[in-house]
Symmetry: D2
Subunit: 136 residues, 4 copies
């Protein structure tokens, strides 16, 4: 799964590079696209009454990205826990493949009403497994 | 009514000045503070079952603000319509009073369920009138 | 000239709709794309030593856009002044063409060093005129 | 060192809670305030010709913050490396002290011209040490 993001003027700070917090946003965009691709887009995971919250982010900033760059963010499930999913994320520059930011994000599946953790839905787990199978 | 906003690093763009869209956000913050001050904070205007959406923004950018500046945003009701409220907004630099951005915002009162316009609540209109009276 | 923007989760607020200030950002993105298309991308208008600042925004919010929507922002020069350019902007929903936000933006050409207005570069004026010719 | 941040409407997403990437922004704000407090504010660390970039972020999201909450972000140096500084960060709800997000941020001192790492300036290291001493 990969998402392409063109760097926007407002993404850059006075240093002329992408402001660090925007990578967390790029990663959220990439994960959201991946959920959609699996058929669990929109609110409450496409209608199955489940929501997802971010539990942890680890981001290593490896290089600076600038206006004019386009970034490619790839995500792959590292492991599923009882109620969580750990995703490896890698953002690189499209032009030359240079890794710009890399790390992992942990998501927890919750009930929309009270944000309490619930087991990863079996249908989601299966869709994610199939997705890995088909894309490589 | 006035709200003070310290300019943040991420508010500034590669030109080293506050990115234009952030003024719309500063204005939203100022209006939200004013609603709170009138007793209509939080969701559904403090529990009276009414919401507000932005219908129009007019912003004239008069000067550039930079990291290190603190801005003061003042808002004053220009007029009430049947379902709307027009607010004059002025954002100036705290250090010397220089106007940085000035204009108006029009808000429409709506039903939260379907965003359809409804009459300006009488209680809000009265609170706004009293607020003008006491602050000058 | 048109730019397509997929609405992102972080663009939406607790009302579940695109937060008003994000339209100013979408418009900035669209104008930036148009400058690039004309050959004046990047810093200092592609190296001619000129910068552009936003002098005025007028935005009428006509409808709410939500997660799952894709927006198309079109911009067209309304007029050139001595040092400025007024652009008509229209953002609509890609699925059905519904206008979501419409208005105008005024840009002023400045010297990068001190942000003082300068005459619209003739090369830019000509490129903009040709662009209108070819696209419609 | 602590920075107080009022949660803004545009900080919150359709789940009604602060969007995850905004914590990276809150942390950047807090660190920036701390640099100012130490006398190294503004560009190039208050004029000593040094810049700082974010090299790593680790954020554990412990609880959801909502509109109406005010957050307090505290930062404390964990260790200095040759060219880097690791800071422990803790963001809690002002009303009851509940930890909302906790983790660490690693910053690298660089030359502004090319973003290449340089040794932590001795004057900064000393100011940071004194600051720890006086505040606890």
């Amino acid at each position: 799964m990969s998402t392409t993001q063109k760097i926007r003027y407002s993404d850059c700070d006075p240093q002329g590079i992408v402001f660090n917090a925007n990578y967390a946003r790029y990663w959220d965009d990439a994960i959201t696209d991946w959920f959609e691709e699996l058929g669990f887009g929109g609110t409450e995971l496409g209608g199955i009454g489940v929501d997802v919250v971010t539990a942890r982010l680890e981001i290593d900033f490896k290089a600076a990205a600038r206006l004019g760059d386009t970034l490619v963010t790839e995500a792959a499930v590292e492991r599923f826990g009882e109620t969580s999913m750990t995703v490896l994320v890698d953002t690189s520059r499209e032009s030359d493949g240079l890794t710009v930011a890399v790390g992992r994000a942990v998501y927890v599946f919750v009930k929309p009403a009270d944000f309490r953790p619930i087991a990863v839905p079996e249908s989601f787990r299966e869709a994610a497994a199939r997705n890995v199978g088909t894309s490589g």
